[in-house]
Amino acid sequence: MAFNQLVRKYQQQVYWHIRKMVIDHDDSDDLTQEVFIKIWKNLESFRQDAQLYTWIYRIATNECLTFLSSKRRKFFLPINDVTAELMEKVEASPELAGDDIQLKLQKAILRLPDKQRLVFNMKYFEEMKYEEMSEILGTSVGALKASYHIAVKKIEEYVQQD
C-alpha cells in the first residue's frame, strides 16, 4: 500500500483517537501529522507480524500520552489544572451548547486519569474489542475490562451529581 493511500485510510481514525484525548483541534492536527510522519519514517522497520492498524494506533496513543505529560511538565501544572484547561475547551465548544448531559458526560470523561480515559474512549466511542486494545496498549484483557468498568462507574456517579 502506498503511503498516500495509508494516510487516506487511517487519517480519520487517528485524528479522532487523538482529538478525544487532547480536545483541541489544532493540537490534534499537529499530533496527527506527527503520527503519520513517524509512520513514514519507520515504515521499513514495521514488523509484518503485527497488524498495521495496531501499530498505527500504538504510535498515536504514545503521541497523545507524551503530549499530555509534557504539557504538565512544561507548565509545571498539576493534573487538575490541565484537566481544567481541557474542560474549558469543552465548555467553549459550540457543538455542546445547550446539551447539559452531553457536556457533563464530557467533563466526567476528562476527570478520568489519562490512561483510563484512553481505555474508555477506545471501548465506548471507538467500540474496539478488548483483544485489539490489549495489543495496542500492551495491557491484559482482564486489566482493560476492570479499567473500563471502573471508568463507567465513575462517569455515572459524576453525571448523577447535581
Binding site: F3, I23, H25, V159
Partner: protein, 148 residues
Amino acid sequence: MTKMNKDFKLSDLPKRNMYQVPEAYFNRLPTRIMARTAAAETLQPAWQQSLWRPLRLTLAPLVLLLVFVGVFYLNISDRPTPAPADFASLAEVEIMDYLTSNDTQLETADFAELNSLADQELTADFLNVSQKAAEDELVYYRINDEDY
C-alpha cells in the same frame, strides 16, 4: 436537551461525536502530510544532525589545542640557534684573556664535582694519553721535582 436523572446509566445515553473539524479538513490533510514527507526527504538525515553537535563540541577544543601546539613549535624553530664555539680556532692568548678578564672563579661545587671524578680514568679521556705514559713523562722531565 437531554434531562439528567438520579438513575443515570451510560448505556441509556445515545453516543454522538461532540467535536467537529474545519470544512474539508480530511480532504486537505493527506496533501499536507505528503508535503511534509517530501520536505523531510530533502533535509539532512536525522542521524547526521544528531552526530554533528557532539562532533562539533569535541572538535573545537582539539582544534584549539592543535593551534597552540603549532604556534609553540613554530616559535621554537624560528629562534636562532647559537653557533657552536670553535675553540680550536681561538688563540690560547685570547682564551687566557677571557678567563682572567671575566672574573672566573672556582666554586665549592666545582671542587665537589672534581672530587667525584677522582676515581675515574680521566686522563685517557681528556688528554688522549694513558696514565702510565703521563707518569713516564713526569719522571722523564722531572716535573714532580719542581716547585710550583
